[in-house]
Amino acid sequence: MTAPMLNRRDAFAGALATLWAVPVVVHAQAATAVPAWTPKALSADEARTLAAACERIMPATDTPGAVAVGVPQFIDRAMADWFEPADVQQLRAGLASLDAQARSRFKAPFAALSGERQDALLRAAEAEGKAASRPHWFPALREFVTVGYFTSEPGATKALRYDPVPGDYRGCVPLKEIGRAWAT
């Protein structure tokens, strides 16, 4: 049962994507140009909201940010073939509420707001998550942004240090010599 269902869902998502292949571009703060991509699980609007939120959660600093390393695509892909249906619902509802808050408070979609305003809405979401008695979408999103970022090639090799074949084990080394946390 499971496999055919999954295939059918994939086919359905593919058909949708072809019909409404709207390139997703993050307008707001990502300084770098973002290539257009076609979401698998999300609508174009949801994907824009997601991308903007990802970039505020894991922004470009001296190392690339979430959008540049493909975290929104990572999360969209996981929503298509990895998340439980309930988790997909929760995250979509979260993105929808983020965008609704943006429109009601600032009269613009979340993705089009200034970084400051986006942060204000995300801080509110974080506070709501901390107060919630049930699992909340914000910590779940933050976790997936973090996983997607640090398991990406730039995240692992630039933001962290990655050594696929260390060779030796040295048990006591000055942190200065390594500089950053190990990716694995």
């Binding site: 499971t2 505020r56 959660i57 894991m58 922004p59 600093t61 190392t63 990572f74 996981a78 073939d81 990895w82 439980e84 942060d119 995300l122 974080e126 933050r142 997936f144 973090t146 996983v147 997607g148 640090f150 398991t151 990406s152 090639e153 692992a156 933001a159 962290l160 990655y162 050594d163 696929p164 074949v165 260390p166 060779g167 030796d168 084990y169 040295r170 048990g171 006591c172 080394v173 000055p174 942190l175 200065k176 010599e177 390594i178 950053r180 946390a181 190990w182 990716a183 694995t184």
Partner: protein
């Protein structure tokens, strides 16, 4: 026609048959072929070629299909409901080395975790590699406590075979001179990190009898010529062992014993060959061979040999015995004692303590050491000082210290949080106990003819659990670990006692135990069946008690010893 039949039979006849290609099957194959026996290894799963069939060995974190290589919940639920119980075993990186439960079902009267893989090399590809010798404290335990039956061997019987095995597989470790954990033939030990060294110094000052040493692990740190000639190299500290090691740095059948066996020219491996029964020849009183079911074609075939080694794992070997009924053995092959399938043991784990460490913030490490600390047993060593009144036997700890990386929880979001996660977190220490489980005839597996697997073969029902002795020991396992972490001055010491069901240690043993008396045991002092002298069982089934150390090294030593005996006895016509 008679000539044709003879020829056909000849083609299916070997000097020896080894059932299973895991850690003991590989050893039986090596020892028998090196002694000149034409040997057929029958493996129920498919082929796994060293290196070529380790598809994920070099996969980087960003190359996985799923987040962190974790399988979707729906797939775990439908295909791996039992295998997933470990929490760590079945991932995108390793799933090809574990069975699908939907294709290989079993039943539970009480929960039992049967974690396994069907392929050439078996669990020697995914094992924990910790390698410890038993001592006479262990071999004498049943006799001393009046539990189960006495082991028919002592440490002196096995010591030269431990040497033999360690020399071949390569074990890195530190000699400690402890009677309860005999030293072996060691390659250079791996290094402790700064916090582990501090822990050792501080804890041993308070508890000198609780020796803290580096784990003894089957990884090459200084490969010998013999190991290099087999194509094996030094450990690269990647700690991706369960995916298969492209350097052949940890011991597996695939990287070492089967390679050595193959080079003799006496080895034939037949994958996809499910041994269903041992064939008893009433005329000779011996096993004439085995019947197999070809997993690919569904055809039944028979192979013959003068010597048969069952090395299919404790549970699978017992299954073969129970499934081999004949007029001579109506209750299962060689099961006149009714002990086959009973006395099922494991090591109980998931209990210990953890702590946070202040200081050492400017210290880190380089490389991913595939090994940790070991604290050998320090309870019930035979003297008054270590005697416990609340339980028999003892436990050891495995653990270590490290700094969590980006995976630790950090609140907030944005640049500050990102910067925090690119630096290592605070040092943490963790100790987890591995405890001895007493043999108990009520802990058993039985043949289930009502539920069939995908080949139409009977399956297994488990009915086993830990008892009061293990439960009392668990309390001490958590308390003593916490005590040591406190003594070291660490902060937020938290004892834990998690979920454990028999089997979760993946150290199943005891289902065809060795003993002195055919009425109460299945195998003699040479791992030879009391009731059929040309059948040897040298996997975990043979274990008369469980001790508290990881068992594979002992299985290998028993196998090598039994194979040497079988080859010699066969030559003299004594089988």
């Amino acid at each position: 026609m008679a000539n044709l039949n003879n020829k056909a039979r000849e083609e299916r006849t070997y000097d020896a048959i080894v059932v299973g290609s895991g850690i003991t099957g590989g050893w039986a194959a090596k020892e028998l072929t090196e002694r000149g026996l034409k040997t057929l290894v029958l493996e129920r799963g498919g082929p796994v070629r060293h290196i070529a069939d380790y598809p994920t060995a070099a996969t980087d974190p960003w190359q996985t299909r799923y987040p962190r290589g974790r399988l979707p919940e729906a797939e775990l639920k439908t295909k791996y409901p039992m295998q997933r119980r470990t929490g760590y075993a079945v991932t995108e990186y390793t799933q090809h080395f574990f069975v699908r439960d939907d294709e290989n079902p079993y039943s539970e009267t009480q929960r039992f975790d049967w974690i396994r893989g069907y392929h050439v090399g078996g669990r020697s590809l995914t094992w924990g590699r910790q390698s410890y010798r038993w001592s006479d404290l262990d071999f004498e335990a049943n006799a001393r406590d009046g539990v189960g039956v006495d082991w028919p061997i002592r440490y002196a019987d096995l010591a030269p075979w431990y040497d033999h095995v360690e020399r071949f597989i390569g074990v890195s470790g530190q000699a400690e001179g402890l009677p309860q954990l005999p030293d072996g033939v060691f390659q250079p030990p791996m290094e402790m990190n700064c916090v582990e060294k501090a822990f050792k110094q501080r804890s041993e000052a308070r508890f000198p009898e609780r020796r803290i040493t580096i784990g003894r692990a089957a990884h090459l740190t200084a490969p010998t010529e013999e190991q290099q000639a087999l194509g094996r190299g030094k450990c690269m500290n990647r700690n991706l062992c369960m995916r298969g090691c492209p350097y052949g740095a940890y011991f597996s059948s695939n990287s070492a014993s089967l390679v050595a066996a193959e080079r003799t020219g006496n080895l034939q491996i037949r994958p996809n060959s499910i041994v269903t029964t041992l064939v008893h020849d009433a005329r000779t009183g011996r096993a004439s061979g085995v019947k197999i079911l070809d997993a690919e074609t569904g055809q039944e075939e028979e192979f013959h040999a003068k010597v048969i080694f069952l090395c299919a794992s404790a549970i699978a070997s017992a299954w073969i015995l129970l499934n081999s009924r004949s007029p001579r053995f109506p209750n299962g092959f060689g099961n006149g004692s009714d002990q086959v399938g009973r006395n099922l043991m494991d090591h109980h784990l998931g209990v210990g303590a953890g702590a946070e460490v202040e200081g050492f913030d400017d210290k880190y490490y380089s490389g991913r050491r595939p090994n940790g600390l070991y604290i050998p047993r320090f309870r019930n060593l035979g003297d008054a000082a270590t005697r416990r009144t609340d339980y028999l036997r003892g436990f050891g700890y495995q653990g270590g210290a490290g700094r969590p990386s980006w995976e630790r929880p950090v609140d907030g979001f944005g640049a500050d949080r990102k910067a925090a996660l690119t630096q290592p977190g605070p040092w943490m220490v963790r100790l987890g106990g591995f405890g001895e489980i007493l043999p108990n005839a009520r802990n058993r597996m039985t043949l289930n003819t009502a539920v069939k697997d995908k080949h139409g073969l009977p399956t297994i029902t488990f009915d086993a659990t830990i008892g009061d002795n293990e439960k009392a020991m668990r309390k001490d396992m958590a308390a003593a670990a916490a005590e040591m972490l406190e003594a070291a001055g660490f902060k937020n010491v938290r004892p834990f006692d998690g979920d454990y069901a028999l089997g979760l240690g993946i150290h199943e043993m005891g289902t065809a135990r060795m003993g002195r008396d055919p009425r109460t045991s299945v195998l003699n002092a040479r791992n030879q069946m009391h009731e059929c002298p040309n059948v040897f069982i040298t996997d975990g089934a043979a274990m008369t008690s469980s001790a508290c150390v990881n068992p594979s090294l002992t299985y290998m030593a028993l196998t090598a010893r039994a194979a040497a005996f079988a080859a010699e006895a066969g030559r003299k016509g004594d089988l």
